[in-house]
Each structure stands twice: as C-alpha cells, then as structure tokens.
Amino acid sequence: MILLVYIYFSLFIFVFVSLWKALKYAKMPMHSRWELYPVPKETGERAKYGGSYFEDYQWWAKPREVSHVGELKEMLKEMLFIKNLFVNQRPFWWLSYTMHLGIYFLGVWTILLGVGALTEPSGLPSFIYYATLISGSVGALLTALGSIALILRRFTDTTLRKYTTPQEYFNLLFIFAVVITGMMVWVGDPGFNYGRMIMKGLFTFTPFTHGGVLTVHIILLGALLVYIPFTKMSHYVGKYFTFHKVLWENEPNLRGAKIEASVRKALSYQPKTSWSAPHINNKGN
C-alpha cells in the first residue's frame, strides 16, 4: 500500500512541479524582442532561408501571415529527432538520441501498459501485448545504452569533462540505475505482466504484490520522477519557452495590434528598485 501511495505521490510531484515551472515561465514579464532567424512560423520559403516579414516593402501595411503548421513541424523535428544536435554535432547526437529515443519508447510503453491493464479483463489484444513487449524492451535497451554511453563520453572527452559537474554524471547514472533495475525485473517477467499489474493497482487503488528488485526499481523510478522537475532535466519545459517565446517570438507591436495592450501594460510597470551606476539616475551626465 505504501508503495502504491509512493507512486501516486511521485507522479503527482512530477506533473505538478513541471506544470508549476511552465506556469512560472509563462507568467514572467514580457521581454524585449530577441528573435533569431530562421523563424519557422514565417511563411513559405522564408521559413527555410531565414527571411521575415521585414523583407516586405511597407511590411507594416500588409496583413500578418503566420504559419502555425511550419512552427509545429519544426517543433516536432526538434522534439522527436533533436534536429539541431543532428545537424550541428552528429557524434554527440548518436548518444543523446539513443537515450532520448529510449525514453520516448518507454513513454509509449507506459501508455500501452495502461491500455493493457484496462483491456486485460476482457482478454488482452495480442497487438497490445506485442507492442508493449517491443516498446518496453527497445526503450529499456536504448535508454540504458544511451545513458551509459553519455557518461563514458563525458568522462573520456577532455573538453566535455571540464564542463560536466558531478551532479550531471549523477543524473545520467540515476537514469541508468532506474533502467537497469527495471531490466532486472523484466528478466523474471519477459511479458511485462508486472507492469500491467501495477497499472491495474493504480487505476483501482489496489495494492499489488512486489518482490525485492521490483521494490527497489519502483523506489528509484519514483525518486527520479520527483527529482527531474527540480533539475535541468526538466528541459522538456524550458525548451518550449526558449524556442516559442524567445527565439521564434517576432510579433510586431503595431498600432491597434493585439499585442499592443500587453505592451502598454508592460510599459506601465514602475520598478521599485534601481541599478546603481551613476548614469542610471543622472541622465546624460
């Protein structure tokens, strides 16, 4: 029972803190424009070569065109394939993507376990069974391989080692430990039946039986879920803002435009403190 509550708690913290972080970023004051081209929400060819509406003669007199599809496409490329790393640093991408792809597979596996738990009483569909088997095994192997490879790469590369803190090794090691304990459980239960059992327990608030290795695995996984949102491993939140709200945010402030009200509000803010340099409070002298 304690373990069940622990899982609820871990999941809650993971979701709650992630959302709280997202909300914190979303509520930050409007910043100065700081876009960087290419901006994928520009239309047509411009999104590719990095052009913008500023290329139009009298751009401000023309209707603003935005390609949300283009933005979504670029976002998916970055989310699903880590495109920027692929383009700019292929050797590192192989390692990083191995781990991330593994995590994505494990995400799918978790959903499939849930679906399996719901459908099992009326007979588990075989494709769900096999999809679970494939996603779980591939996910675990890739995540384990990727995380240990990243640790080794960071440790053996003289440049990366200079910039890697003990905490950053720990983060990777933590992921590796969770996956390895999961794989140890999997060895004794190749069909992931324990996973569906846990899911059933979570859906019905029913305690489940658990052996020693499974207990260790659940404790580690729960701890990881609690830990992630407090660290930079929560870049799944930050990345949305760096791209959408900073680098791709090029909404012009035109007279009568929708953004004007927000700008007006931002401009009305009166700071309570000040910078200390002499010229700040002594304009032009």
Binding site: P29, E55, S96, L247, V263
Partner: protein, 532 residues
C-alpha cells in the same frame, strides 16, 4: 595555463592564455610573413588594467584596484548586479531569456563549432561560448542558489569569486561579438550571446564600467550632443551642403537634400559615422531617393541625424533612452515611416529590440532600406546598367540585418540585378559569420584591443572574403566587398588595411547604395572611386 577550466578564472596568474597559432588563412595569406606576429601587453597596461585573461584590454575603464577594500567593493558591486539581472523588478526585459539560458545548458558544446572567435583563435578554451557562460553559471550557483551554497562543487558551484574572476569575466564578455550564431546551433535554444550581454549590463548598469567608446564617447555623448560622433546640428547642416556640392561634382546632378520636412512620407536615418567617414553613402541615398521621386527627409534635430544606438550592446537603460529620443524626432516631424539606412545595429535597435517601448500615437513603423531599394530596382524606377558593375562583388551579411531581423533576400536580388559577377560568401545569409566588428568592437580602439579584433575577431570574415575571390585575386581586377552596415564597413576597412589587401590585391569595400548609383545609366564618371 594548460588544460584550462572555467574554475581557473579566479586563479591569480599573470595571464590565463597567450594566443599563438591562429586559424590558417587561405592563399595568398598562407605564406610566412603575410601577417605580423601578435604582440604582448605593455607593463603599464598590466599594472592599470586587466590583462590577465588573454593580454588584451577591451574595457579601458576597468581599473585594477590598489587596496583590498577597493577589490571587495568591485566584487560586491558585481554580485549586487548579478542579483539584479535575476530580478523581475529591474530586469524585466530580459528575465525570461536569461533564466532559460542559465538553467538548461546540457553541456553538449555544440556552440563552440559555431563561434568564429573560437575557431579563429585556433580553438582557445576561453573563447568557447560555453566557457564564459559556465563561469557565470558557477558564480550564480555559488552566490545565488541554495544548492550551490549547500553542495558546492557537486552542483558546479566551484569557483573563487574575487576581483580577478570578475575582471576577467568582464573582459571575456568583450571577446564575444554578440552575433548569436551559437544560439542558432544550440539544441535547447539557449543563448550564450545573451549571457555575454547580461555580463556587460552588470558592469555598466550596476558597476558603472563600460568601454569609453561605447559609453562615455558613445551613448552619453549622443544623448548630450545628438551624435556619438560629436557631430552637432550646425556641423551636420554644413556637411549636407558640402555633400550636395560633391554629388554635383561626381554625378552632375543638382540635388537639394530635404531636411526637417514636416509630414514627409519617409524619415531616412543614417549612422552619423557615414557623414564623417563614408559621405558617399548618404550621398548615394540622396541621389537614389531623389531619382525615384520619394517624399523623404533627413532630420537635423537632436539625435535625429544619428541612428546608432550603442546601448544595444551593453546597457538597456541607455538603449531605451536613445531610442526614445529617436522615435520622438519622427513623431514630431509627423512622418509616416522611418527608413533605416546602412547600419546593421540601428536596424535591430529601431525595428526589433526597441519595438516595444512605444505604443499608440508614438508608434511610427520602422523599415529597412533594403525592401524599398529592391522595389526601386525591381520596378525599374531607376535606369541601371549592370555592366558598369562588371567586376567581382561579394556580399557581407550584417548579423543584425539577417540573423536578428530576417532581411535576407532583397539585398541579393539587388546585387543579382546590378552586379554580373556577384558571388556569395560561404556560409551566408542567416548562417553568415560576423565581420568581427559587431557589438562595439569596430569602434573600440583602446590599447591593444584592435589587434584582437583584426587578427582574431575578423579573421573568419577575412578568410571568407579571400575564399569568395579565389580565382580573381589578380591585382589587375578590382574586387568589391558589399557591406551594407557602418560597423561592418569599419571592421572590413581595418582588416583590408592591416593585411594591405587593397594595395596588393585590389580588393575594395563599401555599401550597397554606392553600387546602385554606380550603375545609373545617366552618370558619366564612375561613382565608385576605385574605378575612376
């Protein structure tokens, strides 16, 4: 120092790095003796300034303290400013991008390969974009976070915070051109350029320390006299008269340059450095605008005749003050729009960075001159003969115009229409390399800083220029680098002089409008002097 790490920034050594083997240059600059050796800093500079980073002095107002108390005062002042950049009270304009860039670096080091300064230096560790950011991150961790105070080196809070650390970090913020090429490459969308700029802001806004050419002789002078060049209104008006005479002598066209014309369609603004150093550029604008029959004007009002905004590079408060005055001029004249001439950072300042400091009636639309110029060329408003420009021409993309603003195509369309031998640099467009003069470097002339700019900062650009003209290096063939930006022109002028490239290989530089005027059918003599 061997195997240098960010933690070493606080160590009391004479100089962290000594530049040696730089990136190779292509032929004919791949031969020995084509480049003077790097120098060492003078003892007097070592005593007075911070030369302990790489031997160069970028911040001429950063003075080495004489007593322990003075040292502590500098450190405390920095730490006070550090806390302020994370404040949602005084740093609202950059809080979100700053926090994101500080928090999420995955240390993948992708940024290094994108940085022209790191590459040009032969891979010096301190010039990796992540090196500077990591020093800042460590100070933030140590001074501002609970985890850093409790766990120290385990979470990366392992750096000594003393005068040397702070002074070196300040200097290091002026080894970045703020070109943001590294941010384009970052898989997490983080921005080392922004972090360098935030360090500059702490120095200026909190500590009152900024390079003289940017602050005292830059924004402060501009707010006082109207221009960072010191150009006053009477001198400006005299200059225009001289320019009208010069236009007549060169083109045979009698032009009256409109000044302070109320209710004009266009307020054209220039970098005042153009009037002083490259008057052919504003003259060419005058010829083309008159030829096209545009309803335009210049302003002789305080700040109206100088569109620069050096605040963009180091100080938000100054940037805003300058921009407010510039926008006020446009409003008072009652113009319909502001057109920015050939100045890259003025493009970014007026159209992008300062876009959200005015609303309602105060908001006057800002445009780049490039779409307008392409409109004039494309609609054949101007009668042009491309054969007059039949020599190799390459284009330098000012970072502020392309990467920061997305104006990429019009300048290419113009060059393709009027220059039969136009060729691109590699890479170009939004992937271009900075000229090495960006973020104030072009005007920072104190002590040995120009050496750093010319031999390291501008090195990648010089390589690109040479590569663009490979096969045409014969001194009998004139060649032209089109650089539609004052600061870029300044940096390119300096490298061409430094490497004697003009005298040896007949390579020239200038703006875009000069090429267009040179192609005008009804002008008898070449407008470009090197063709005369």
């Amino acid at each position: 120092m061997k195997n240098l790490k960010p933690q070493d920034m606080g160590k009391r050594t004479e100089q962290l790095v000594q530049l040696g083997k730089l990136m190779d240059l292509p032929a004919p600059y791949d031969q020995p003796g084509m480049e003077p050796p790097l120098t060492v800093p003078k003892d007097a500079w070592k005593e007075k300034h911070c030369t302990t980073l790489d031997g160069y002095v970028g911040i001429d107002t950063l003075i080495r303290p004489q007593t322990k108390a003075e040292e502590e005062q500098v450190v405390n002042s920095f730490l006070s400013g550090l806390a302020k950049i994370f404040s949602d009270d005084v740093n609202r304009n950059f809080l979100q991008p700053l926090v994101l860039s500080i928090k999420y670096c995955a240390k993948c080091n992708t940024c290094s390969e994108a940085c022209h300064i790191f590459k040009a230096s032969g891979g010096q560790e301190i010039y990796r974009p992540i090196f500077r950011s990591e020093v800042l991150r460590k100070i933030v961790k140590k001074h501002l976070t609970k985890s850093g105070k409790m766990l120290g080196s385990l979470v990366g809070a392992d750096i000594d915070i003393n005068w040397e650390t702070i002074a070196r970090l300040g200097e290091l913020a002026y080894r970045c051109n703020l070109c943001r090429r590294c941010a384009q490459a970052c898989p997490l969308g983080l921005d080392n350029g922004l972090l360098a700029r935030e360090i500059r802001k702490i120095f200026s806004q909190e500590m009152g320390i900024a390079p003289k050419p940017l602050h005292e002789k830059g924004t402060m002078l501009q707010l006082k006299t109207g221009s960072s060049t010191g150009l006053t209104k009477p001198a400006f008006l005299d200059m225009l008269e001289f320019m009208e005479d010069d236009i007549f002598a060169k083109t045979g066209k009698k032009i009256k340059i409109p000044v302070d014309k109320k209710g004009a369609d266009i307020l054209l603004t220039h970098n005042a450095g153009e009037f002083m150093t490259w008057p052919d550029n504003p003259a060419a604008f005058a010829v083309l605008f008159t030829e096209a029959g545009l309803d335009w004007t210049l302003s002789s009002d305080m700040i109206g005749y100088d569109n620069v905004n050096y605040g963009l590079w180091y100080d938000d408060v100054q940037a805003r003050r300058v921009a407010q005055e510039q926008f006020k001029v446009a409003k008072q004249l009652g113009v319909r729009r502001i057109i920015i001439g050939e100045c890259g950072h003025a493009h970014k300042a007026s159209a992008v960075s300062m876009d959200r400091i005015t609303v309602g009636e105060d908001k006057i639309p800002v445009e780049s001159f490039l779409p307008l110029l392409w409109e004039m060329v494309n609609r054949k408003v101007l009668k042009l003969d491309p054969q007059k420009n039949n020599f190799p021409v390459t284009l330098h993309d000012p970072c502020n115009v392309v990467r920061m603003m997305g104006v990429v195509k019009p300048q290419r369309q113009i060059l393709q229409a009027i220059c039969p031998q136009f060729r691109e640099m590699t890479p170009h467009g939004v992937n271009n390399y900075c000229c090495g003069g960006g973020s104030g470097f072009a005007i920072m002339q104190s002590m040995n800083f120009p050496e750093f700019r010319k031999q390291v900062g501008s090195r990648m650009k010089f390589r690109q220029i040479l590569q663009a003209f490979q096969g045409s290096m014969d001194p009998g063939t004139p060649k032209y680098i089109c650089a539609p930006c004052s600061n870029c022109k300044g940096a390119i002028r300096d490298i061409l002089e430094f490497y004697h490239t003009t005298e040896k290989f007949n390579i020239h530089y200038g703006g875009l409008v000069e090429l267009v005027v040179n192609a005008l059918v009804d002008i008898e003599k070449p407008f470009l002097e090197f063709l005369a």
